[in-house]
């Protein structure tokens, strides 16, 4: 089914080269002292976009959050979908039996989302949705969720994830979270938010810089570097309790923490023994073990998702380049050869490629991806000062920090370079993004039969 839809759209590639420019002004859901508006702007569209109609969910007027709006915004933002106008069709379908497929064929919609929100006696809401194939006149997916009103937005993201996966064959990342640092004047806040920028929560506030946040694989803890002790030290912090522990505070710099995929170890960078080298350590600070002995700068370690490899930045060859070694240390292999400055490597979730920052011949610092099998490098951006690339857990989007109009913003590019987005805050600079993991499967959701 998925294949058929995609093939048909490819054949009618009317959207090729089309530049969609949709601006969503998103307000933070949670009030906070630094409440600011996040703006997400889509700069380019994919070569092929699936035309889909999101029919307004019945009876959602008056609710604190419109499901229809969030599902539509999620799908449009991915760059892989084109929203088909639902105006003028009366009555709008709610159940499969209501659908007049001719209406939607006339509007070139390949797929249709219908649904309802119904209040339950206990104050909760029942959200029902179905994804319909217009050509086949058949249901592709259908679920019902019983939720409290505060879960309207997360439920809308789940629906968008189901639609995205059914129609593209790839897991959606609309329910995941991102973490980043906002600098307002001389104040730094480590915040996390939904992948669409909503619902930001402040983890920690400091008068000194915070860098290199890293998620534990289960998404419940963070490691990050703070300069609040007038030097770089590593903290771990629970997102559930807020409790914070000092992981590394040795003489010199303590930095670049990253969790192993099983969550049992962290790779960190310490300069206590002379120059910045890579070490492994348990989350409680025990069992510290040095794993590089290069005599040059070794930093920015990152594990492959199978836990077998670490890629990292080293200037052992005279300029910073990217190397790979077994995760327990040992012989390393140089992976980058183009240019004099290749840094910040991050494995793709499937381990077949890695994203990094490359200084181009023109002097710009850009996001690039290298395929590990072919060693082909593709530069994905053409800005001046990109940094900190981070893969979405489905591997389809790379989020990174850059400077635009003298301000720090986050930007995202699809891993094929075709779709681009910007994420900015109303005031201040936003930087150091890290995309969080897929969270463990929620409880079983009742399936709606056809």
């Amino acid at each position: 089914m998925t294949f058929k839809l995609r093939k048909r759209i490819r054949a009618s590639a009317a959207w090729r080269g089309a530049l969609t420019k949709i601006i969503f002004l998103l307000l933070f859901l949670y009030a906070g002292p630094l409440q600011a508006a996040l703006t997400i702007e889509i700069i380019g569209g994919g070569a092929t976009q699936i035309p889909i109609a999101i029919v307004p969910f019945a009876a959602e007027q008056g609710l604190p959050q419109s499901i229809t709006q969030v599902v539509g915004a999620d799908l449009a933002r991915s760059g892989l979908f084109k929203l088909v106008d639902t105006g003028g069709i009366n009555p709008l379908p709610v159940e499969p039996g209501d659908i007049r497929y001719a209406d939607w064929k006339a509007r070139n919609a390949d797929a249709l989302v219908i649904g309802t929100v119904r209040p339950l006696a206990d104050g909760r809401l029942e959200v029902r949705f179905r994804l319909m194939d217009v050509a086949k006149q058949a249901q592709l997916a259908g679920f019902s969720y019983n939720i409290v009103p505060a879960q309207l937005r997360p439920t809308a993201h789940k629906i968008a994830d189901v639609v995205y996966e059914k129609l593209t064959g790839i897991a959606g990342v609309f329910s995941t979270k991102i973490i980043y640092v906002v600098k307002q004047g001389s104040k730094y806040e480590l915040q996390y938010a939904d992948a669409d920028g909503y619902g930001s929560q402040t983890v920690v506030t400091s008068n000194e810089s915070i860098i290199s946040p890293s998620w534990s694989p289960d998404g419940t803890k963070l490691a990050y570097v703070s300069f609040e002790r007038k030097k770089a030290v590593i903290y771990l912090q629970s997102l559930l309790t807020g409790q914070r522990t000092l992981l590394a505070n040795f003489p010199g710099s303590n930095s670049a923490p990253v969790w192993s995929p099983d969550g049992k170890r962290l790779a960190v960078v310490l300069s206590k023994d002379g120059i910045s080298q890579i070490y492994l350590v348990n989350p409680d600070g025990s069992n510290l073990q040095r794993i590089t002995y290069s005599g040059a700068i070794d930093t920015e370690p990152n594990f492959s998702s199978d836990g077998k490899w670490i890629i990292f930045t080293s200037d052992r060859g005279g300029t910073p380049q990217i190397y790979r070694m077994p995760a327990s240390g040992g012989e390393s292999e140089r992976l980058t050869f183009e240019g004099t400055y290749n840094v910040s490597p991050r494995f793709s979730p499937d381990g077949k490629s890695f994203a990094f920052i490359q200084r181009g011949v023109g002097g710009g610092f850009n996001v690039a991806v290298e395929d590990l099998a072919t060693r082909q490098v593709q530069v994905l951006t053409n800005s001046l000062l990109d940094e900190s690339p981070t893969f979405a857990p489905n591997g389809k989007i790379i989020l990174y920090a850059t400077i635009e109009n003298n301000r720090g913003i986050l930007a995202a590019v699809s891993s094929d370079g075709k779709v681009k987005q910007r994420l900015t805050v109303q005031s201040g600079d936003i930087r150091e993004p890290t995309w969080g993991p897929f969270l463990k499967a929620q409880q079983q959701v009742p399936v709606l039969n056809q």
């Binding site: 770089a232 930095s255 300069s271 910045s276 930093t299 840094v343 920052i357 610092f365 150091e432």
Partner: protein, 174 residues
């Protein structure tokens, strides 16, 4: 390895230059330790004498008041022009064993925060190594890196970047 050889070579050169100047410097210290003699007539005291009375670390005519060493992009090699500055501070530490300093390494905004943090640390450590080879005690010098987190200048151009690629010497109590 090549880098280490260069560092050792550079430090060796610094040490060679240093042994001559060490005596002159220690003389100066002795003169400065008797500043009270020029105090009876402060109003007529010539400027020169006044500078003798000043703390050498803050006397604008003394090289010890200069605290920043500047670097090329992605480099942590101390350039020739900063050798006298490194020597002067090393000799001050030798002559004042209770003196303590922190060397703060900094970088320009280009490239990764983590690589720059490591580079800034390497710059600070290069200065520390040079000073300890000139006789300063390791325990007198602490090194930290601010990477690109504390830029002195915030514009996105080379004149600004060149000011941010530096190591700053800060004495304890300052």
């Amino acid at each position: 390895m090549k880098r280490i050889m260069l560092s050792i070579l550079l430090a060796g050169l610094l040490a060679a230059c240093a042994s001559k100047e060490a005596k002159q410097e220690s003389k100066a210290t002795i003169e400065e330790s008797t500043p009270t003699q020029s105090q009876p007539q402060p109003s007529t005291a010539p400027a020169q004498q006044q500078s003798v009375a000043m703390d050498p670390l803050h006397d604008p005519n003394n090289i010890l008041s200069k605290r920043s060493i500047y670097y090329d992009f992605d480099k942590s090699i101390i350039k020739d022009e900063y050798r006298p500055l490194v020597q002067a501070h090393a000799h001050y530490l030798v002559g004042n064993r209770s003196a303590r300093m922190t060397i703060q390494g900094n970088c320009d905004e280009r490239g990764s925060r983590e690589y720059n943090l490591a580079l800034g640390q390497h710059r600070a450590d290069a200065e520390k190594n040079a000073m300890t080879l000139l006789g300063a005690s390791k325990s007198q010098i602490e090194t930290v890196s601010f990477g690109k987190e504390k830029p002195r200048c915030t514009e996105h151009n080379e004149s600004c970047w060149s000011q941010n690629r530096r190591g700053d010497i800060v004495y304890q109590g300052e």
